[in-house]
Structures are given as structure tokens and as C-alpha cells.
């Protein structure tokens, strides 16, 4: 029993170290965030927008990028607090449109993806992370889990930041 526990602890330690190596800070999951934010799209990780941007997003859920995404007051507040607590910082994570896909971080990370690939029927839009990033729980996501839809080629450049 003790051995199993030690092995598990070691595994966890290795994973943590690996995540940090890749430059990404591990983000604690949150059940309400995960349930609510993933009901229409991938639950976008909190560190991909700044705290100010998240406040604006969470303050306008009745007009959420063209859809109504209103929440009960208690859930809205708890999700906003979680996002703000784990938000990103700096101009590379801020977006005047409040879209993560418009941040300079996103654009740089995806600079090798050509425009026509974004409109592939299985991709539809850059906001559809899950089209290529097959495992989107436990940020940071791994490049090993990227599988481009049929017809799109992707070659990793090893740049994992």
C-alpha cells in the first residue's frame, strides 16, 4: 500500500516537473468552471486572458460572443473569482475583443498554422481548440496531444512555451 502511494507521489512529482519545464504553471481545476464553461465550448484555461478581460467576459454573459450564457449569480461569481485568481498577466494575454484567439500569445503560438487550415470543416474556427488539442483538461496542454484533422499537416517545432 505504502509502495503504491510512493509510486503515485513520484509520478505526480514527475508530471509537475514536466509541466514546469514546459514553462506552463499548473492550474488547479474547478468543478463549477469546468461544468459551466465546457457546456458549449472547451473550458478555456484562466491564464489565457488577463483578470480585467475575464471580469469583462463574466460581466456580459447575456451577450457572450453572440450567445446568451447567463448563469445564476452564485455560480457566475464563483467562476469569475476562479478565473481572476488564475488569470494571465501582461499585454500578450490581453485582448481588446476579449477573444483569446486575438491575443498576441495565441497568434504567436499558432503562427505556423495557415489561414485556410482554420476553416477546415472539422476545425471551423480557431476557438475550437478541441479540433486539434485532443486532451484539454489539466492545463498546460501537451504538444503530444495535438492531432490535426485529416488533410491538415502539422509538424512540431519543439517550441513549447
Amino acid at each position: 500500500m505504502k509502495r503504491v502511494a510512493i509510486a503515485l507521489a513520484m509520478l505526480l512529482g514527475m508530471q509537475l516537473a514536466h509541466a514546469e519545464e514546459r514553462g506552463g504553471k499548473r492550474i488547479p481545476p474547478d468543478a463549477t468552471w469546468e461544468k459551466e464553461c465546457s457546456s458549449c465550448h472547451v473550458a478555456y484555461p484562466p491564464n489565457l486572458l488577463t483578470a480585467d478581460d475575464w471580469k469583462k467576459v463574466m460581466g456580459s454573459l447575456d451577450k457572450h460572443f453572440g450567445s446568451n450564457a447567463e448563469l445564476e449569480a452564485k455560480d457566475r461569481k464563483s467562476i469569475e473569482d476562479y478565473l481572476v485568481r488564475n488569470a494571465g498577466s501582461g499585454t500578450r494575454h490581453s485582448s481588446s475583443t476579449l477573444r483569446i484567439t486575438d491575443t498576441s500569445w495565441f497568434k504567436r503560438e499558432h503562427r505556423d498554422i495557415s489561414p485556410k487550415e482554420w476553416v477546415h470543416p472539422e476545425v471551423k474556427s480557431p476557438s475550437n481548440c478541441n479540433a486539434c488539442h485532443k486532451i484539454v483538461t489539466g492545463y498546460p496542454w501537451s504538444e503530444h496531444d495535438i492531432h490535426m484533422p485529416r488533410g491538415i499537416r502539422w509538424e512540431g517545432d519543439g517550441d513549447d512555451d
Partner: protein
């Protein structure tokens, strides 16, 4: 002693989570009772519920009717027209999770009616709709 504590905790947890849990019929009854306060003798109708579901409201360009995302077949999976995310079937007969949480049902009626119908749905419309998904699509 430990086992007893665990049992008690589980019991309490179960009670807490069932506070908002419901059956589709209980939700029909709840909305029917609410509708009857302003329309005495109100009875839910699956036909009216179906009409609500298929009506082209024309309020939203992307989502003119409920069927834009849910498809006309409540036993089939749908797809969010904007994000492309798969939407599980509405019919409780094929998706046992549907209409079992008062909170979830209230949330989605509010969002989707505002979006597609252009206003919140009335208690009568909600009762009709759940009556339809319980009986329809067979």
C-alpha cells in the same frame, strides 16, 4: 465507527444533491402549477410543446428555431451552430440525464428562450415543452 461516519456523510451528500434533482414529470407538474396560478385549469400539451420547438421565431439569424442546434429529432444528437460542440439528445428516453435537475432546466430555458424566442418562456410553455420531450419523438 469510521464506517458509520462515512455512511452518514454519504447520506447527507445524497440528500443535498437530491434537493435539486427531479424527474421530467415533476418538472412538468411544477411548471403546470405555476401556469395554473394565472390560467386556472391549465393542462400541459405535447402538441403545443412541439409547435414551440419547431417554430421559426426569426429573432436570431444563426438560431431561428430550437431545431437549429437540437435538430428536429429529439432522440438524435445536435450540434451548437456556433461552436460545433455536440449537444446530447433532448429526449429523456434516450438521454436519462435530461430534465432531472431543476437548476439546469431553469438555466437553459432562460438562455435559449431569450436567444431564440426573444424573451423568457412562460411557465405554460415550459410545461408544454417538457411534456413534448417526454412523449414526442417516438
Amino acid at each position: 465507527m469510521k464506517a458509520r461516519k462515512l455512511c452518514l456523510t454519504l447520506l447527507l451528500l445524497g440528500a443535498a444533491s437530491s434537493a435539486l434533482a427531479a424527474t421530467p414529470q415533476e418538472l412538468v407538474d411544477k411548471y403546470t402549477a405555476e401556469a395554473a396560478t394565472s390560467a386556472p385549469g391549465f393542462r400541459p400539451s405535447a402538441e403545443r410543446g412541439q409547435a414551440l420547438f419547431t417554430k421559426e421565431w426569426g429573432v436570431s439569424a444563426a438560431m431561428p428555431a430550437c431545431t437549429a442546434c437540437h435538430t428536429k429529432d429529439i432522440r438524435a444528437s445536435g450540434k451548437h451552430v456556433k461552436t460545433g460542440k455536440v449537444i446530447e439528445p433532448l429526449s429523456p428516453a434516450v438521454n436519462a440525464e435530461r430534465f432531472t435537475s431543476e437548476k439546469n432546466v431553469a438555466k437553459w430555458f432562460k438562455r435559449n428562450c431569450t436567444e431564440v424566442v426573444g424573451r423568457e418562456c412562460t411557465a405554460a410553455e415550459k410545461a408544454d415543452f417538457i411534456q413534448f420531450v417526454m412523449q414526442g419523438g417516438k
